[in-house]
C-alpha cells in the first residue's frame, strides 16, 4: 500500500497522457508481434485509467490493484484478438468492467455464504473481523475531501452495478456515449437511460447536501 500522500495524487496530476490513435495502433501491432517493450509502454499509458476505474467501482485499493494487474495480463494474453476496430482504452475498460463484475459476484457469494454467529467461539483474528466498521471516515477519506465527497462516494457505491459503471465511465473517465456503449457491450440508448437514471438517483441521495 503506498503512502496516502502518494496514492492520493489527483487524476490530473498522476494520470498519464492520452496516446494518439496512431501511436496506440503502432504499439498494439508491436505487441502482437511480441514486442515486450511496446506492451510495457501500453501499460504505462493506460495503467492509471484502468486502476482508477477499478478503484471507483470496487472502492478497495487492494482489489483495484489486483484487478488492474489481471486486466493487463488478460490484455497481454489476448492481444492477438484485438483488431484495432476500437480504441485500446475502450477494450481495456471492457475487460476491467467484466473483471469487476466477476469480483462483485464473488463478493456477493461470500456474503451469502458467510454466516457469523456471535455466539460461536472464534479466534482473535476472527474476532477482529467481526468488529463493526467504524462509521467515522478513515485517514484517506478525511484527506480526500469533506462530507460531500464522502456522501457522493457512498451514493455511487450504493447504486446498482450497471449504474456505477456508466457513472464511472461517463463522469470520471469522460468517455462518450459511444465508447461507453462499446465498453459495456450495450446500446447507446441503454447508456443514456442508465446515466439519466443514475443522475436522478444520485440527486435523490445527496441533493440535500447541495442545497
Amino acid at each position: 500500500m503506498p503512502p496516502v500522500s502518494e496514492s492520493l495524487r489527483g487524476r490530473e496530476a498522476g494520470r498519464s497522457e492520452t496516446p494518439s490513435h496512431a501511436e496506440e495502433t503502432r504499439l498494439v501491432q508491436a505487441c502482437q508481434r511480441g514486442d515486450e517493450a511496446a506492451f510495457e509502454r501500453l501499460v504505462e499509458l493506460h495503467l492509471d485509467r484502468v486502476f482508477g476505474l477499478a478503484y471507483r467501482l470496487l472502492q478497495d485499493y487492494g482489489e483495484a490493484e489486483d484487478t488492474a494487474q489481471e486486466v493487463f495480463l488478460n490484455c497481454y494474453r489476448h492481444m492477438g484478438d484485438f483488431r484495432g476496430e476500437s480504441r485500446l482504452s475502450t477494450w481495456l475498460y471492457r475487460i476491467t468492467t467484466n473483471l469487476v463484475k466477476n469480483r462483485w459476484k464473488r463478493q456477493e457469494r461470500r456474503k451469502e455464504l458467510k454466516h457469523d454467529s456471535l455466539d460461536a467461539p472464534r479466534s482473535q483474528e476472527d474476532a477482529r473481523s467481526l468488529d463493526p466498521p467504524d462509521p467515522a471516515p478513515g485517514p484517506r477519506e478525511r484527506a480526500q475531501g469533506g462530507e460531500i465527497t464522502q456522501a457522493l462516494n457512498a451514493a455511487i457505491s450504493s447504486l446498482a452495478p450497471d449504474y456505477q459503471e456508466v457513472v464511472a465511465l461517463r463522469f470520471m473517465e469522460n468517455l462518450s456515449y459511444d465508447e461507453i456503449a462499446e465498453a459495456l457491450g450495450c446500446s447507446i440508448g441503454t447508456v443514456k437511460s442508465r446515466i439519466n437514471r443514475a443522475r436522478h438517483l444520485l440527486r435523490e441521495r445527496i441533493g440535500y447536501l447541495l442545497g
Partner: protein, 775 residues
C-alpha cells in the same frame, strides 16, 4: 412541458444534444419553473463533483509487477497462448479438434445412445402386447366354448322386501339369467351395486367384503378339486349356488365375498367360454340394433374381457384389473427369501382355515407368477408382499425370548414388505394396521440409520398408527441407532420411531431402539432423565393416592425455587416416561368419562407448575403464559388442536364464576373451577375422535384424568347465551372438584355424561385445560 418531459430532456441538455426548438422549450421551462432550475443546478453540481473527484494513483510497483508476470508468462508455456491468440482465425482443423476434444462430441454420442435405447424400449414386447397375443389365442376355435349369461341385476327393493337376495326373483325362483355358468365380470358399477346390496342386507362382519378391497376388473376363476374357492376381493356373480342364502358359505369354503354372493367357480374352458358368449351376444345384439351388451355388463367391461390373457399351459387365468394392470403384471414372484421365516400367507380379512390353506395356487396373476390372494394382489400392486413374522429358531444373539408379544401383535396387525427391499436385501418395512405404501429408506453399509417416510397413511388408517419395520438385510446384529419415522401426516408430531412401532431385525430379535446403543440393563435416556428429574424434586414417583408426596409438602417444593418452565418440562417428561409402548389402536365407542381430579402420578409436578401463580390477579402473567405455552406446544406436538383462550375471556369466565358461584375462593363445588382457586388461563383443545384414545392415554400418563363436567361458560359466552347459563349454571356446575392446578373438562360432553350412561361418541373430543392458582 411537464416534469417527465423535462427529465427526459435533461440528459440531452447536459450532453449538448438538444437543438433548436427542443432547446428553446427546455430553457423556457427552466425560466417558468424555478424548482426545475434548482434541480438542474443540483445535477450540475453533482456532475462537477464527480468529474472533479480524484482517484488514487496506482502503486508504483504495480507496473513492474505486471511486467514481471508478463515475462513469466512469456517464459513459461503460457506464451504459446499469446502466439495462439495472435493468430488470425482458427482453422477448420482447429474447429474439428475442438469439436472432438470438447463437450459437443460426447454430448452428441449420448443423445444418439439415448435415442437408440428409447427405440429399443418402445419396441420391447410389453405385458400389454402379451395380453393382445393372449386374446388372439383365446379366439382360437379349438377351445371348448360354452355360453354364459349376462350379469343378473341387483335385487330391487321389492326383492329385498320379499326376503330374497341377490339372484333371486320376487317369486322366490332363481333368476333365469342366473342359471348359467358363473361369470366374474365385475366393473365399478357392479361392485357398487354389490356393496349397496350388502349394506342394505345387513351383511356385516368378516363375510362382508370391504368396499375398499373391492377392485374393479375382471377375473376368471377355475374350478375343480385343484382349485378350491378362496376369499377374493374381486366379486363374483353367484352361479350354481345362487339360490343359497346370502350368508351361506359355498363349497364348505371361504367366507368373504363368496359367502355372500355364492361360490364362483368355473373351469378354464367355462371361463373362456364366457368370452365367446359375450362376443356372440354382442354380435347378435349388433345385428338386432340393440345395445351390444346388457346393462350389467357394460361395453367397457366387455372390452376388458377381450383382453383376457391365455391360459399358459393349462394354468389358471386371471385378468388384471384395468387400472393397475401394469402393477399387477409386476407382482412379486416369490415369498420373501429372507432370514425371517415366511409362513403361509394369511389373509387379513375374512376366510376360514380352509380358504387360507387354499389361498395359494388358486389364482394366478396375468404374468403367470405365483398365485396370490386378493390381499396379496393388492400388496403386489403396490410392489409389496405380505409378511408374517416368526421368531427365528435360536433367538437373538442377545438371548431374547424366541417369542414376543410385540411380534405377535405385529403379525396380528399385518405387515408387508416392499419387494424391492427384499431383493436388495436392505430394509423391509411393514405397516401394522396400515395399508402398505411407498416407503423410502436409506441404509448405510452395516447399520440402518435412516429415515422411513410414508405418505398418505395416517388419514386412512388413523386408528392404527403403529408402524412395523422389518429389517431383512444381512445384518448380523440387531438394528442399532435411531430410526426416525416420518409419516407425512405425522410430521406435526415428529415422533421417534420407537414411539410408533417396532423394529424386527433379521435375526428375529426385537432390539430396543435407542438413540445410542446402551448396555443391557442400563437405564434408557428417558429413564435417566426421569431419575434426574426425581433427584431434583421435580417428579416424585412415590405419590400417595391423595396426590401428596410423603414427607414433602407443597410449600417445601415451592421453596426449591423451580420455575414454571422446569415444572412444565417435568410434566411433559412424566408423560414421555410413562408413555405406553403401544398406543391404543381402537377408538373407543364411548367418549371417556373420567374424573378431572388429577391422578397422583404427576400431581406434585402440576401443582408445582401452578404454585408460583398463587395470588395472581386475573390476567395472564408471564409465568402463566409460559406454563400455558409449554402445555400448548406439548399438546400441539401431539396433534391436538389448541386454541388459547384470550385472557379477557378467562377473566370473563372468572367473573361469571364470581357472579354465579360466589367469590372464587368461596365457590364450594364447581366443575370447572376447583374450589378456592382462581383461573389463570385456559386452553381449548380439540382432538379428532380417532386420536382420542392415545391422547387421553397421554393425558392420563401426565396425571390428568378426564371427567365430564359442566360446559365452560366461555363457550356459552361465545355463543351468546350467558343469561341462560347464569340461570342454570349453579346446578350444572355443581359437580366434582378439581384437586390440582390443572383440570381438563371435555366441553363437548353433556354434564350428565358418565361412563355408565351411554353417550354418543362425538366426532371430535373437545376439552379444556384450565390453569388455576393454588390456594
Amino acid at each position: 412541458m411537464d416534469k417527465k418531459r423535462f427529465h427526459d430532456l435533461l440528459e440531452g441538455y447536459f450532453s449538448g444534444e438538444l437543438q433548436g426548438s427542443q432547446l428553446e422549450a427546455f430553457e423556457e421551462a427552466l425560466e417558468q419553473h424555478p424548482d426545475w432550475r434548482a434541480e438542474l443546478d443540483q445535477h450540475r453540481a453533482i456532475e462537477s463533483l464527480m468529474r472533479g473527484a480524484s482517484s488514487p494513483a496506482p502503486p508504483q510497483a504495480l507496473r513492474a509487477r505486471i511486467m514481471e508476470r508478463v515475462r513469466a508468462e512469456r517464459e513459461s508455456p503460457a506464451p504459446a497462448r499469446v502466439e495462439e491468440t495472435a493468430r488470425s482465425r482458427p482453422s477448420l482443423m482447429d474447429h474439428l479438434r475442438r469439436f472432438v476434444l470438447g463437450w459437443q462430441a460426447p454430448a452428441l454420442a449420448t443423445v444418439c445412445l439415448l435415442a437408440v435405447v428409447t427405440y429399443a424400449v418402445l419396441n420391447h414386447p410389453s405385458p400389454h402386447s402379451r395380453v393382445a397375443r393372449g386374446v388372439s389365442d383365446l379366439r382360437s376355435p379349438s377351445l371348448d366354448i360354452t355360453i354364459a349369461p349376462e350379469r343378473p341385476p341387483a335385487p330391487t327393493d321389492r326383492d329385498r322386501a320379499g326376503g330374497r337376495g341377490y339372484g333371486e326373483t320376487a317369486a322366490g325362483e332363481e333368476r333365469a339369467d342366473n342359471k348359467a355358468l358363473p361369470t366374474i365380470t365385475i366393473g365399478d358399477a357392479d361392485a357398487d351395486n354389490y356393496n349397496k346390496f350388502n349394506r342394505k342386507a345387513g351383511v356385516k362382519g368378516k363375510n362382508a367384503p370391504e368396499p375398499s378391497r373391492v377392485q374393479a376388473g375382471l377375473e376368471l376363476r377355475r374350478t375343480g378339486a385343484d382349485a378350491p374357492s378362496l376369499p377374493s376381493p374381486v366379486l363374483g356373480v353367484p352361479a350354481e349356488t345362487a339360490a343359497k342364502k346370502p350368508d351361506s358359505k359355498p363349497g364348505g369354503g371361504a367366507g368373504g365375498p363368496q359367502g355372500v354372493a355364492g361360490a364362483a367357480r368355473k373351469s378354464d374352458s367355462e371361463a373362456l367360454g364366457e368370452v365367446a358368449v359375450l362376443r356372440e351376444k354382442k354380435a347378435a345384439a349388433a345385428q338386432e340394433g340393440e345395445s351390444p351388451v346388457s346393462n350389467a355388463i357394460s361395453e367397457e367391461v366387455h372390452n376388458r374381457l377381450e383382453a383376457v390373457a391365455p391360459p399358459a399351459g393349462g394354468r389358471p387365468v386371471a385378468v388384471a384389473p384395468p387400472a393397475p394392470a401394469a402393477q399387477a403384471v409386476a407382482a412379486p414372484a416369490s415369498p420373501p427369501a429372507v432370514s425371517l421365516a415366511a409362513v403361509p400367507t394369511t389373509p387379513a380379512t375374512g376366510g376360514d382355515e380352509a380358504s387360507r390353506a387354499s389361498s395359494s395356487g388358486s389364482y394366478a396373476v396375468i404374468a403367470g407368477e405365483k398365485s396370490t390372494t386378493g390381499e396379496e394382489r393388492q400388496l403386489a400392486a403396490r410392489g409389496m408382499t405380505r409378511l408374517d413374522l416368526v421368531q427365528k429358531p435360536g433367538g437373538s444373539p442377545e438371548g431374547a425370548a424366541p417369542t414376543d408379544d410385540r411380534l405377535k401383535l405385529a403379525n396380528s396387525l399385518g405387515a408387508a414388505a416392499p419387494t424391492e427391499a427384499r431383493t436388495n436385501e436392505s430394509l423391509a418395512y411393514g405397516t401394522a394396521g396400515m395399508a402398505p405404501a411407498a416407503v423410502t429408506a436409506s441404509r448405510p453399509a452395516s447399520v440402518f440409520r435412516g429415515t422411513v417416510s410414508m405418505a398418505g397413511q395416517y388419514e386412512k388408517h388413523a386408528d392404527s398408527p403403529q408402524v412395523l419395520v422389518v429389517c431383512l438385510g444381512p445384518q448380523t446384529s440387531p438394528v442399532e441407532g435411531k430410526l426416525t419415522l416420518r409419516v407425512d401426516q405425522y410430521a406435526r408430531r415428529s415422533e421417534d420411531f420407537r414411539s410408533l412401532g417396532y423394529i424386527v431385525s433379521a435375526n428375529g430379535s426385537i432390539p430396543v431402539v435407542e438413540q445410542k446403543p446402551r448396555e443391557v440393563g442400563a437405564p434408557s435416556a428417558a429413564e435417566k432423565k426421569a431419575a434426574s428429574a426425581d433427584e431434583e424434586g421435580l417428579m416424585k414417583k412415590a405419590v400417595s393416592k391423595d396426590g401428596k408426596v410423603p414427607g414433602q409438602k407443597a410449600e417445601s417444593r415451592e421453596k426449591e425455587g423451580l420455575g414454571n418452565k422446569e415444572r412444565s418440562k417435568a410434566l411433559v417428561l412424566a408423560g414421555a416416561v410413562n408413555r405406553p409402548a403401544v398406543a391404543p389402536a381402537v377408538a373407543p365407542a364411548v367418549a371417556p368419562a373420567v374424573a378431572p381430579a388429577v391422578a397422583p402420578a404427576a400431581a406434585d409436578a402440576i401443582r408445582g407448575m401452578a404454585a408460583k401463580t398463587e395470588g395472581a390477579k386475573l390476567k395472564e402473567r408471564p409465568d402463566t403464559s409460559q406454563a400455558l405455552e409449554q402445555m400448548e406446544s406439548y399438546l400441539r406436538s401431539r396433534g391436538v388442536r389448541v386454541v388459547r383462550v384470550p385472557v379477557d375471556e378467562v377473566i370473563a369466565d372468572a367473573k361469571w364464576d364470581t357472579a354465579n358461584l360466589g367469590k372464587a375462593g368461596a365457590a364450594p363445588q364447581s366443575g370447572t373451577s376447583p374450589a378456592g382457586r382462581k383461573k389463570l388461563g385456559s386452553l381449548l383443545c380439540t382432538v379428532p375422535n380417532r386420536d382420542m384414545p392415545w391422547v387421553l392415554e397421554e393425558l392420563r400418563k401426565m396425571g390428568i384424568e378426564l371427567k365430564p363436567v359442566a360446559p365452560s361458560p366461555i363457550s356459552e359466552i361465545r355463543s351468546g347465551k350467558p343469561a341462560q347459563l347464569a340461570e342454570s349454571g349453579r346446578k350444572e356446575r355443581a359437580g366434582g372438584r378439581g384437586g390440582t392446578g390443572l383440570s381438563v373438562a371435555p366441553v363437548s360432553l353433556p354434564p350428565q355424561a358418565s361412563a355408565a350412561k351411554k353417550v354418543t361418541a362425538p366426532r371430535v373430543l373437545e376439552f379444556r385445560i384450565d390453569l388455576y392458582d393454588l390456594p
